[in-house]
């Protein structure tokens, strides 16, 4: 899990600044994610957690600062490359909304594979295995609206992990769930990430969820709060 100080970070953000309209979401935030590590980004609402995740995942370009992934400047890559990266190397899980409401759970999970060129049959077969792994095989034929929140989120995890990404970005993945469903989703995420060596960037305001991570970065007013103790 902890690769120590010597390891080169897989993903690193340096002095990020980002303004949305009149609000400054990030002012000089830096963070790094090592390969296979689970990192929690915590902070109060509006502290810039989600914007930091968006910048690191290449969804949003920062106004200033740099994002480096595998030696490449993510903030300078063209949109097409970024899309490709998000499809292959990255997986994302949000509080809700990443599942297409009209597709069944199985097709939702199969979608990233089909986008990568797999045939529908192959994609569905692999999607089925992933649903099994997250304990929602029985819901394969249901649409997101017909599942419980926990089942939908586990389906989202399956969709994020089905392509074998190097990093999974999870933005309040348990935000809409009760504590038991939240525990099931987090346990499934942590186990799979550990088994496959996937790094996870976990944005949450919930300390119990953050405790699933190896390390914590705390944000306040768009910058990282220096902590006396390091894990």
């Amino acid at each position: 899990m902890n690769n120590g100080e010597n390891a080169v970070p897989l993903l690193a953000a340096r002095d990020l600044a980002k303004t949305h309209g009149r609000t400054q979401a990030l002012r000089g935030a830096s963070a790094e994610l090592r390969a296979g590590e689970i990192l929690a980004v915590t902070g109060a609402s509006g502290s810039g957690k989600s914007t930091l995740l968006h910048c690191l995942a290449g969804i949003v370009r920062p106004d200033a600062g740099s994002v480096t992934y595998g030696g490449e400047r993510l903030d300078r890559l063209p949109e097409k490359r970024l899309s490709g990266l998000r499809r292959g190397d990255f997986g994302v899980v949000f509080q809700f909304g990443q599942l297409i409401p009209e597709l069944t759970a199985l097709d939702n999970v199969a979608l990233p594979l089909m986008l990568a060129g797999s045939s529908r049959g192959d994609a569905q077969a692999r999607a089925g295995e992933w649903l099994e792994r997250f304990g929602v095989r029985g819901q394969a034929g249901l649409r997101p609206g017909e599942m419980s929140g926990g089942q939908a989120q586990r389906t989202s995890l399956a969709r994020a992990l089905v392509t074998g990404p190097k990093v999974v970005f999870a933005d309040e993945p348990t935000g809409a769930l009760d504590s038991l469903a939240s525990e099931q989703v987090m346990t499934a995420l942590v186990h799979t990430a550990r088994d496959s060596g996937t790094a996870v960037l976990l944005v949450t305001h919930d300390a119990q969820v953050a405790a699933y991570a190896d390390r914590e970065v705390r944000l306040s007013d768009g910058a990282v709060v220096p902590t006396g103790v390091t894990a």
Partner: protein, 180 residues
């Protein structure tokens, strides 16, 4: 699980069948993995008190190839007492001793840095929560382990929430403490 109920917990373990002190300690630590492990001395004093109060009695000795051990078993009165205790509601924390709050106030009074203290305390809490979560999510962890880790996690989380809101209100608190 707390100290005050050790006698009832031991009595509960005895109800399932006669047992000696060492065995009781082992079973207790297994059943309540996140609780503080019982000391042998404590087990024997508690057993003696149970016998004194007529809730348990000596069942004989058992050598089993090793050193001789005194076996204990529960009495009928013990079973009644156990049933009464198990059904009785626990008082919902009537007097919380809040060491963290005391430290914050003292820190303000003595001109210290309550914010730095809260930050360090928070980090320590988070570290412990990560450890407990790791225990909980370890492959093959049984439900007892999970539930007792959960209990501790929820209490630490409550402390943590309190610390977060307190840290945000330190300025007002400082003004209040200083003028008082």
């Amino acid at each position: 699980m707390m100290l005050m109920s050790t006698r009832h917990v031991l009595l509960g373990l005895l109800v399932s069948g006669p047992s000696h002190g060492y065995d009781l300690k082992r079973r207790h630590d297994e059943r309540f993995p996140q609780a503080r492990p019982l000391a042998y001395g404590q087990v024997y004093t508690t057993l003696q008190r149970l016998v004194r109060d007529g809730l348990a009695e000596v069942d004989g000795t058992d050598a089993d190839g090793g050193p001789e051990r005194t076996m204990y078993r529960s009495t009928t009165e013990g079973s009644h007492e156990l049933a009464r205790w198990a059904g009785e509601i626990a008082p919902p924390a009537p007097f919380v001793t809040n060491e963290i709050f005391a430290k914050v106030v003292v820190s303000i009074l003595s001109g210290g840095d309550p914010e730095a203290y809260l930050k360090a305390q928070r980090a320590a809490h988070m570290k412990r929560m990560r450890e407990l979560t790791a225990v909980k999510t370890a492959k093959g962890a049984d439900l007892s382990t999970l539930l007792s880790a959960d209990y501790a996690l929820n209490h630490l989380d409550a402390d943590l929430r309190w610390m977060t809101t307190t840290a945000a209100r330190l300025t007002t608190l400082t003004a209040e403490v200083d003028t008082a």
